[in-house]
C-alpha cells in the first residue's frame, strides 16, 4: 500500500494543474475575508461572519476551495483516461483496488491539508483586518470549521468518483457543477411553489444541500417563501453527503475492477 501511496503522491505533485487548482482555491477563498475586511472592517464580528470569513464564503456563496479541490479529484482519475496514462499506471501498479484506495487517501489528505491552510490564511487576514478572530476555537465556529474540512473532503471525493465513473474529465466536471449549482438549487426553488411543497421533505436528502449543513453556524436561510426543510443535525446531514459520495465511489470502483483499462 505504501508503494501505491508514494505513486499517487508523486503523480499529484508532478502535475502543474494540482498547483493551479490549489493556488486558485486558496486565492479565491482568501478573497472573501479580504473583501469583507476592506468593506466592513469596522463592523463587529459575530459567529456567522467569522465562519463566513474563515471558510471563504463556502457557507454562504460558493464553496470555492471545494470546487477547485473537486477538480483535483476529477483529474486524479479522469486524467488517467484522458491522457491514456491508465495503461502505464496499471503496469506499474496492477492491483486496482490498492490504486483506487491510494487515490482516495492521497486526494482526501491533500484536500484536508489545503483546507486547514486556507483557514489559517483567512484567519491571518481577519486578524490583520479586524484585529482579532473572536470565537475561533469555540463552538459553533469550531464545529463549523471541522464541518468545512469534512465538506471539502467529501466534495473532492465526489469529483474523484465521477472522474472514475465517467472515465474522463468533461462529463465529471459537468455533473459536479450542474448538480449543486443548478439541479439542487432548482429543486429547492420548486419546493417554494405552494403546489409543490410536498417536495420539501426531500430537500434534506439532496446531497450537496445536506452537505452544506456541515459548515453552518446558524440555520440556513432560504428566503421567506421557503417551507421548513427539517434538516438533520450537522453530522447527520454530513452523513447524507458522505453516503452520496460513497455510492458514487463504490459504483465507480466496482466498474473499474471489471472494466477493461
Amino acid at each position: 500500500m505504501l508503494d501505491a501511496l508514494r505513486f499517487e503522491w508523486t503523480r499529484l505533485r508532478t502535475l502543474r494543474s494540482t498547483y493551479w487548482m490549489v493556488g486558485s482555491g486558496l486565492v479565491a477563498s482568501a478573497a472573501i475575508p479580504l473583501t469583507l475586511g476592506i468593506a466592513a472592517g469596522s463592523e463587529p464580528l459575530n459567529a456567522d461572519s467569522v465562519n463566513l470569513g474563515l471558510n471563504g464564503g463556502a457557507s454562504f456563496v460558493i464553496p470555492f476551495l471545494a470546487v477547485f479541490m473537486a477538480v483535483v479529484g476529477i483529474f486524479a482519475t479522469g486524467h488517467e483516461y484522458r491522457h491514456g496514462t491508465i495503461q502505464p499506471t496499471l503496469t506499474a501498479l496492477p492491483q486496482r483496488s490498492r490504486l483506487i484506495l491510494a487515490k482516495i487517501l492521497t486526494v482526501a489528505g491533500l484536500t484536508a491539508a489545503v483546507t486547514l491552510v486556507s483557514i489559517a490564511i483567512n484567519a491571518t487576514l481577519m486578524l490583520a483586518l479586524w484585529g482579532g478572530v473572536p470565537g475561533l476555537f469555540d463552538d459553533p465556529v469550531r464545529s463549523a470549521l471541522l464541518g468545512y474540512v469534512a465538506y471539502n473532503v467529501v466534495y473532492t471525493l465526489v469529483g474523484l468518483g465521477l472522474g472514475l465513473l465517467f472515465r474522463g474529465v468533461p462529463s465529471a466536471l459537468v455533473v459536479i457543477f450542474l448538480m449543486p449549482l443548478i439541479i439542487e438549487t432548482l429543486f429547492v426553488g420548486l419546493t417554494m411553489v405552494p403546489a409543490l411543497d410536498w417536495l420539501a421533505p426531500v430537500v434534506r436528502f439532496l446531497p450537496f444541500t445536506a452537505g452544506s449543513e456541515l459548515m453552518l453556524t446558524s440555520a440556513a436561510e432560504f428566503g421567506p417563501a421557503a417551507p421548513d426543510y427539517d434538516f438533520f443535525d450537522r453530522w447527520a446531514s454530513g452523513g447524507v453527503f458522505a453516503v452520496f459520495a460513497a455510492l458514487i465511489i463504490i459504483a465507480a470502483w466496482t466498474l473499474f475492477k471489471t472494466r477493461d483499462a
Binding site: 508514494r6 508523486t10 491514456g84 496514462t85 495503461q87 496499471l90 503496469t91 506499474a92 477493461d260
Partner: protein, 313 residues
C-alpha cells in the same frame, strides 16, 4: 518465460482473441505477428490484466497482477503516447518508479539509454511519435526487467532508430531476457526475431522458428534462364512442375527440386545460363499464412484510365 494459456476475449458478437496458448522463451526475440485487427494488442493487454477475458498468462510462473513491484520483473510498452502532456519525461518515469522502488539514478540511466537525456526535463507534449516511443521503451526498461512486452515499438522511429531498437532488443535477448515484440514491419522482424507467434482473427496460425514458418507457408522456387527457356516449359510441365514466367523472362519453377530441373535440362539437351533457387521472404510467408485471416481487406488499386482519375487530375 511467458506461458499464455487459453487467452480469450469477446466484444459482444466479435471474438477478438480465440483460445490462444503459446510460450515465449527467454534468450531469444519472439515476434508477434498478425494482420491489422487480428488481436495482437488485445492479447498483450489480456496478458497484463489490462483487459478482462478468459485464460491466464504466467510470467516466470506468476500472474502479472499478483506481482509486487511488477516493473522490476516485466516491462511493457503498449500505447504510443501514454503520458501526461505537461509532466516531464523524467517526472513521468519518477511517478512509475515510485511504485516500484526504483531509484532516480536508474531513471536518468534509462533516459540516457533511449537518447532522451537532453530533453528529460521538458514537457513531452511536443514529442514526435519516435520520441514518444523512446519514452515508452524507457518506461519498459525502467525496472531492468527479465521480461519485455513491446507492442509495435518501432512505430514512428527513423531508420537509425529502428536499427538501434533492433540491436537493443537482440542484446537484451542475448542477456537471457524474454523479449516478446509485435511489429508490422516484417523486414525488421525477419532481422530481429528468432521465433514467431502468428495470429489471424484472434486464432493461432503459427508458433515456432522463423525459418520453419517461412518453410511451412511458402515454397522455394527454382529460377531457370537460358536461350531456349521457352522450349523448356512444356518439358517441365510434363514432369509435373508448375512454371510461371518472371518479369525478366526467367522461368520460375515450383513443385520440382533444383536437382531434378538440372537433370531434366541435361537429359533434354536444353542450354541454361542460370539455375538457382529463390527462398521466400518472411513477408511472403506472412501473406500466405494470413491471407485468409485478414479482417480489413482493402480494394486493389485500379488503373487511373479505368476510373477516369487522370481526367479529373
Amino acid at each position: 518465460m511467458i506461458a499464455a494459456k487459453g487467452l480469450h476475449k469477446r466484444y459482444k458478437q466479435t471474438v477478438a482473441v480465440d483460445d490462444l496458448s503459446f510460450e515465449v522463451r527467454p534468450g531469444v526475440v519472439t515476434g508477434f505477428l498478425g494482420p491489422n485487427g487480428s488481436g495482437k494488442s488485445t492479447t498483450m493487454r489480456l496478458m497484463l490484466g489490462l483487459d478482462h477475458g478468459g485464460g491466464e498468462t504466467l510470467f516466470d510462473g506468476e500472474r502479472f497482477t499478483d506481482i509486487r513491484r511488477p516493473m522490476n520483473r516485466v516491462g511493457a510498452l503498449l500505447e504510443a503516447k501514454p503520458f501526461h502532456p505537461t509532466r516531464s519525461a523524467r517526472n513521468h518515469l519518477k511517478m512509475l518508479a515510485s511504485a516500484n522502488g526504483i531509484t532516480d539514478a536508474r531513471i536518468d540511466e534509462v533516459l540516457e539509454t533511449v537518447g532522451l537525456g537532453p530533453v528529460k526535463r521538458k514537457q513531452p507534449k511536443g514529442y514526435s511519435l519516435g520520441m514518444a516511443q523512446r519514452l515508452g521503451l524507457a518506461q519498459a526498461l525502467l525496472g531492468d526487467p527479465r521480461t519485455l512486452l513491446l507492442d509495435e515499438p518501432t512505430n514512428g522511429l527513423d531508420p537509425h532508430g529502428i536499427h538501434w531498437m533492433r540491436d537493443l532488443l537482440k542484446q537484451l535477448a542475448t542477456e537471457g531476457r524474454t523479449v516478446f515484440v509485435s511489429s508490422h514491419l516484417l523486414s525488421e522482424m525477419q532481422l530481429m526475431a528468432d521465433e514467431l507467434v502468428v495470429i489471424g482473427r484472434g486464432q493461432m496460425i503459427f508458433n515456432g522458428d522463423v525459418d520453419d514458418f517461412v518453410r511451412e507457408f511458402t515454397q522455394s522456387s527454382v529460377i531457370v534462364r537460358g536461350p531456349d527457356a521457352d522450349a523448356f516449359v512444356p518439358v517441365l510441365e510434363a514432369e509435373g512442375a508448375t512454371v510461371t514466367k518472371g518479369g525478366d523472362g526467367e522461368l520460375v519453377v515450383s513443385d520440382m527440386a533444383i536437382g531434378a530441373v538440372g537433370h531434366l535440362a541435361f537429359t533434354e539437351g536444353v542450354e541454361l545460363s542460370e539455375l538457382s533457387t529463390r527462398s521466400a521472404s518472411l513477408e511472403e510467408a506472412f501473406m500466405s499464412a494470413t491471407g485468409a485471416a485478414e479482417q480489413f481487406v482493402a480494394r486493389e488499386p485500379v488503373p487511373a484510365t479505368t476510373t477516369g482519375g487522370a481526367r479529373h487530375a
